[in-house]
Amino acid sequence: MPAGVAIDTGVAKSIASTLMAKWQAEHPDVDWEADERASRTFVPAHDNSDLIGEATQAEGHTYRNVTELDTLLWKRETEKAVVAGSRVFHSGDELGSTIAVSCDMCHPNAANTHPETYPKYQTQLGRVALLRDMINWCLVHPVRAEALSADDPKMRALEAYIISQRAGKTLAYGKH
């Protein structure tokens, strides 16, 4: 279609629809977040609505001038990180398992992952471990995948999901 040529609205719409369909075909996973949310149970992120408008001392400051939009953004972005973690947690493919094993097979709803107990002396390792050390231990052994680096987006997502599922538990580092 040469530039500057006027086209009929109907033709334009049909071109747009074709392009959209093509894009959707190339991105079948586009609704992953909605799918994941529909499949799993999540703990909502903390509700910060009590902070809205609490600006008496904050006049003239950017920090602490909290609007509803802020709290919605915080919640949405935080929960998105958690939902992304759920997706990795529940997928042997995402984890890179060579034997089709995923975290949820032993830890439904991240049960028995107890992130609230780390750091702790891991007797079987003979040293202090963080949650991510244990995630990597599981990846290499029961899952038979490659370990993730500490700043790998998948590691960060897994940590986000696991911690979110244990919301409300008392932090008790070192607990066995």
Binding site: S39, T41, I99, C106, P108, N109, A111
Partner: protein, 396 residues
């Protein structure tokens, strides 16, 4: 897909992590080969005494790491409450294997080896159990090759075998392949004065058609314990009608043992540790004087008593589940928290001792640990007498 399959052929070649099992099998092979060559002095150096004691007790031990002590099949007969065969007073013993979750062996050899270990266990029982129950979830994703593999392995069970269906066997082709191997999903039989019933309790109402799911998507949804898209387990109208008809022919004084995949009560809905029409099913069982329900699905030591009905879980050969975060029956004494560094810990098989009065002792044959027995006495005393030892590491 790469496959970690060189456990018996020396160190694994190529990239990728060596699994705990691989290391364990290599070290075990090395120890076994080295043993005959050791002088007494060398032996003591390796064993530090512990190995000698373990050998005397009929176990092999890996001295190089904290890898598992493995009971030699049959040695368990010396354990309290686990004596095979002779149960005294005219009772009898049956064995169980459950929840093996097999993938095809080229994809995942671990679950295959675990089922083989369980088959070795029951074949080593001396005397042999009167029959063996397979408790469901033979396959992981209900694939024909998974069910074929499971059926092939179970052919090597020496005692008569009865097989129950689980949701992982069912929701790829709605039981077609499973039925081809094992027949009806509901059946009953009488053995030494006890009426045994095997029932399909994993019927879910249709959640897949409206969502346009493929058979594999349906299967994978059901296979996820914490997947909320699926429905709750039920025995369902048709199977309940069958059960009512079957039980109508049985005298109410006859001891009754029911095998179901899901627990026939309501424990924790989110994980389908749950049967939605449990009240209706229990109503059918309640008129009988002595009733025991043995169920799979929960992969743990799990005990409940509702009225005159005793409920016992079965162990999985593949992996242990955590205890549900709420709703745990008061009668349940948890098994110690499984050690993730110890392959197959918290897994196992087991047996059921049926006494002449129809009451049962349930034996959990936990691999790498002492067995745990939940006795008839414990059940009928409401947990007052004969309590199993409490764990020193409960679930978090």
């Amino acid at each position: 897909m790469t496959n970690d399959d060189d456990q018996t052929n020396g160190p694994r070649r190529g990239r990728g992590p060596r699994s705990v099992e691989t290391v364990y099998m290599e070290e075990r092979a090395a120890v076994m080969q080295a043993l005959p060559r050791l002088s007494r002095r060398g032996f003591m150096k390796v064993s530090l005494g512990a190995m000698g004691a373990a050998a005397a007790a009929g176990v092999t031990i890996n001295p190089h790491s904290f890898q598992p002590i493995r009971f030699v099949p049959g040695a368990r007969a010396a354990e309290p409450g686990a004596a095979a065969g002779d149960v005294g007073g005219g009772g009898f013993r049956i064995a169980y294997i459950s929840d093996s979750h097999l993938y095809k062996k080229e994809l995942n050899d671990r679950f295959v080896r675990s089922l083989l270990r369980a088959v070795d266990d029951v074949n080593a029982m001396d005397p042999q159990p009167d029959f063996v129950l397979y408790g469901g979830d033979l396959a992981q994703l209900g694939q024909p090759e998974e069910l074929d593999l499971g059926a092939e392995i179970l052919k090597s069970v020496k005692a008569p075998l009865h097989v129950m269906v689980g949701e992982h066997d069912w929701y790829f082709d709605m039981g077609e392949r499973w039925r081809r191997h094992f027949g009806d999903d509901n059946y009953s039989f009488d053995h030494k004065g006890v009426h045994f019933v095997v029932i399909n309790s994993v019927v879910e109402k249709d959640f897949w058609t409206a969502r346009g799911m493929s058979p594999m998507e349906r299967m994978k949804t059901v296979a996820g314990l914490d997947n909320g898209k699926q429905s709750s387990f039920t025995v369902g109208d048709a199977n309940r009608a069958w059960l009512a008809g079957d039980l109508a022919k049985v005298d109410k004084g006859t001891p009754l043992v029911v095998f179901s995949h899901s627990p026939l009560y309501k424990l924790y809905k989110n994980w389908n540790f749950w049967t939605d029409d449990a009240d209706e099913v229990q109503a059918l069982l309640r008129p009988f004087k002595t009733v025991t329900v043995i169920h799979g699905h929960t992969h743990q030591v799990l005990t409940n008593r509702i009225g005159n009905i005793s409920f016992h879980g079965m162990l999985s050969t593949a992996w242990p589940w955590p205890y549900a975060p709420e709703g745990l029956p008061e009668m349940t004494i948890q098994m110690n928290r499984p050690d993730p560094f110890n392959p197959e810990d918290g897994c196992g098989d087991g047996s059921v001792i049926v006494h002449p009065d129809g009451l049962v002792d349930k034996v959990y044959g936990l691999w790498n640990r002492n067995p745990m027995t939940v006795s008839a006495k414990y059940m009928t005393s409401g947990g007052e007498a004969d309590r199993p030892k409490v764990p020193n590491a409960k679930s978090y």
